[in-house]
Symmetry: C2
Subunit: 319 residues, 2 copies
DNA sequence: CCAGCTGAGACCCATTTGTGACGATTCTGG
DNA sequence: CCAGAATCGTCACAAATGGGTCTCAGCTGG
C-alpha cells in the first residue's frame, strides 16, 4: 500500500483522500457509509473531505455562461475591446472575492494553456487561488515564469510560493526572478536587471504565451499595505503622484499612464513593452477597490482578457 | 432578465441554477443564505442544486491518479499494451457502476478531444453518463458520429439520444446512422450499407480521432436483454455460439474472435477494420459482467484505452 | 361551471454534516 | 524512561440538508 505523495507534503494521504472524494462526490454516498467501508471514523472522512477541497484535490466547475454575468461579459468585451471577459457572481457571504476570481482564473488557465506553452504569473491572493484551482496536468512541458521579484519577509502569500504552487499543479518547470521585488537602490536595480540569472529570466517574458496578472490597488484596503510590501510613506506619495495601483510593478494613474516615483526606479520587473507583446494578458482582479487599477491596466494595454466579479464589472461598464 | 436556455428545455432556468451553484459550491454558502439573497425559498434552491447536478451543470473532478487504482492502471497498461488505463473505485453503495465509469469516460474525452476532432460513440448507460459529465465546450468544431443504428422502440436509453446529448455538450455537429441497429434481413442490411446517407456516415469512421466504445455483455444481467434490444432466443444462440458480448455490433468470443450468427449478418455498423484504425479507441465498461467482453475487445484490437472500475480491473489482471 | 391535475410554497421531520469537548494513544526530546 | 505535545477516536450537539406531506392557486378539459 504505497502512498506516493508527489505533493511535497508528508502527513496527507492523497490516495485515500481521492478515494473518499470519489465515493462522496461522484457516487454520492454518505460519509458514514464511506467510513464503514474504508474502516475509518466518520470524523476522519469528514476532515479529509475538507482538506481535499482546500488542497484543490477536488475541482468543481460550473458550466458557463453564468447567466446574468454573461451580459456583463459581452458589454465588457465590446466596451474595452477585450479578447474575453469572465464575470463571476460577487460573494454574498464574507468570502474573499480573490478566492472566487482566482478560481475562475484557474479555470481559464486550464482551458487556454496549451501543452508546451509558457505562462507568466504575478503574485497575490488571487493568483494563489488560481494555482489552487487550476486543473492538474502532467508531462505537458509547460513553463511558469514568475514576473516579479521575491519578498524576503515571508508574508502569508509570497511570490515564490505562488509560482511554485502553480508550477507544481501544471507539472511545469519554474523560472524565478532571483532578486527582491524592490532593489535597495536604483543603481542596484539596474545592475541586477542586466546580470544573470535575472536577465535571462526577464528575456523569456516577451515569448510567453499567456500572462496571468493581478492588480495591486492603492486604496486603503490595499493588501500591499497590509502585508507590508510597500511602506505607509510610499503608499501616501504614490497616491499623491496620482497612482491608482500597479500591474506587475508598473504603477499607473487612472488613465493608464506610468507614474514616476522614487519607488519605480527600484522595481525589478519585466518592461511594459515585453508584457504588451504577450498574446493573452489575463488580468484577474475583483472587488470595488480594484476598479480603477483594472481600468488603468486595460488602457495601458496590459490586459486583453479580464476576469472579475459582478460588482467590479458593473462599476467598469458604468461611465 | 432574459434566460437564454440554449438547452432544448423549457422549464429550467439555467442562469439561475448556475448562479446558485456558484454560491453554493464555489463560495461555500448555505442554501438558506443563498435563498434569502436571491429571494427564493430554501426548498427551491435545494431542488435547483439537485437538478443542476443531474444535468451536469456542475462538474466535479477529482485529481488523478486515484491512489490504489493507479497500481491497477499501470498493470493493465503493461499487461495489455494499452495507451491508457483508468480505473475508478467500484461503487460501495448501490450506485450504477455505469454512471461512475461513464463519468470518468467523460473526463477522458474532455481531456483528449482536441478542437476540430471527430468523436465516434456507441450507446448505453455508460455513454449516457459520459455525455452528461463531459465538459461543455462551444465553437470548437468537433463532430460526433454515432457508430450504430437506432432503436425504433424508445427504451430509456436510446442511441440517438446518447449521440444528441454528447453532441449538444460538445457543441458538435452530429452524424447519425439513419438505419435500425439490426436490419430486418441480411439483404436489406447490405442494401442499406451502400446506400446514402448510411454509406457516407460509415465512411467517416476510419477518419475519426477518437472512439468512445461501450461493451454489451451477454451475461444474464445483460442490459441488451433487459431493454429488449436482442431477443431471448438470440441471446441463447449467441451464447451457444461462444459469444461473450459485442462491441459496436461485433460479437466476439472470449478470445476476441468474431462469432458467426444469423444476427451478425443483419447488424448495421462500421467494419472492424475501420474501427481498428481509429487512433484512440476508448472502451468504457465496468462491473463483473463486462470482464469477458472487455478482454475479448482488447484481444480483437478494438480497444487501446480502457476505462473501468476496480472490480473489473482486478479480474482482468488476474490470470 | 366544476372536478381534477399540476406546480409551487409552507411547514415538518429524519438524516446527514460540521464542530467542539474530552480522554486515550503515540510521538518526541531530554 | 518520562513529561509534554501532538494526534486521533469517541461522544455529543447544533446546523444544514433532503424529502415528505399539505394546501392553495391556476389551469384544463369536459
Amino acid at each position: 500500500m504505497t502512498t506516493d505523495n508527489n505533493d511535497a507534503d508528508g502527513s496527507f494521504d492523497a490516495a485515500l483522500a481521492a478515494r473518499i472524494c470519489w465515493h462522496y462526490f461522484k457516487e454520492g454516498q454518505t460519509q458514514e457509509l464511506i467510513a464503514q467501508q474504508l474502516n475509518l471514523t466518520r470524523k476522519r472522512v469528514n476532515r479529509m473531505l475538507g482538506e481535499a477541497r482546500e488542497r484543490g484535490l477536488v475541482q468543481i466547475t460550473i458550466q458557463r455562461p453564468l447567466g446574468l454575468c454573461s451580459e456583463l461579459e459581452s458589454r465588457l468585451t465590446n466596451m474595452f475591446g477585450l479578447r474575453h471577459a469572465i464575470v463571476v457572481p460577487s460573494p454574498i457571504g464574507n468570502t474573499d472575492v480573490r478566492v472566487l476570481v482566482g478560481s475562475a482564473a484557474g479555470d481559464y488557465i486550464s482551458d487556454h494553456l496549451t501543452p508546451g506553452a509558457a505562462l507568466g504569473i504575478t503574485w497575490g491572493g488571487t493568483i494563489n487561488a488560481a494555482a489552487q484551482s487550476v486543473r492538474r496536468r502532467s508531462g505537458e512541458a509547460n513553463r511558469v515564469v514568475l514576473l516579479c521579484g521575491g519578498l524576503a519577509e515571508s508574508t502569508s502569500i509570497n511570490p515564490y510560493d505562488n509560482a511554485s504552487m502553480m508550477a507544481r499543479a501544471l507539472d511545469a518547470r519554474c523560472y524565478y526572478i532571483t532578486a527582491p521585488m524592490f532593489a535597495a537602490s536604483a543603481e542596484l536595480r539596474d545592475l541586477l536587471l542586466v546580470s544573470e540569472p535575472v536577465r535571462s529570466v526577464l528575456a523569456m517574458v516577451p515569448k510567453l504565451d499567456l500572462a496571468l496578472l493581478s492588480a495591486i490597488d492603492l486604496t486603503d484596503q490595499s493588501k500591499a499595505l497590509e502585508y507590508g510590501v510597500i511602506s505607509w510613506n510610499d503608499w501616501r506619495s504614490l497616491r499623491a503622484a496620482g497612482a491608482v495601483g500597479d500591474i506587475c510593478g508598473h504603477y499607473l494613474d487612472a488613465d493608464g499612464n506610468l507614474v514616476e516615483h522614487s519607488l519605480t526606479a527600484r522595481v525589478i520587473n519585466p518592461s511594459i513593452k515585453s508584457l504588451q507583446v504577450i498574446p493573452l494578458r489575463v488580468l484577474a482582479a475583483g472587488g470595488a477597490s480594484k476598479v480603477s487599477i483594472v481600468r488603468a491596466a486595460i488602457k495601458a494595454g496590459l490586459c486583453n482578457v479580464l476576469i472579475t466579479d459582478e460588482s467590479a464589472a458593473t462599476a467598469l461598464v458604468r461611465r
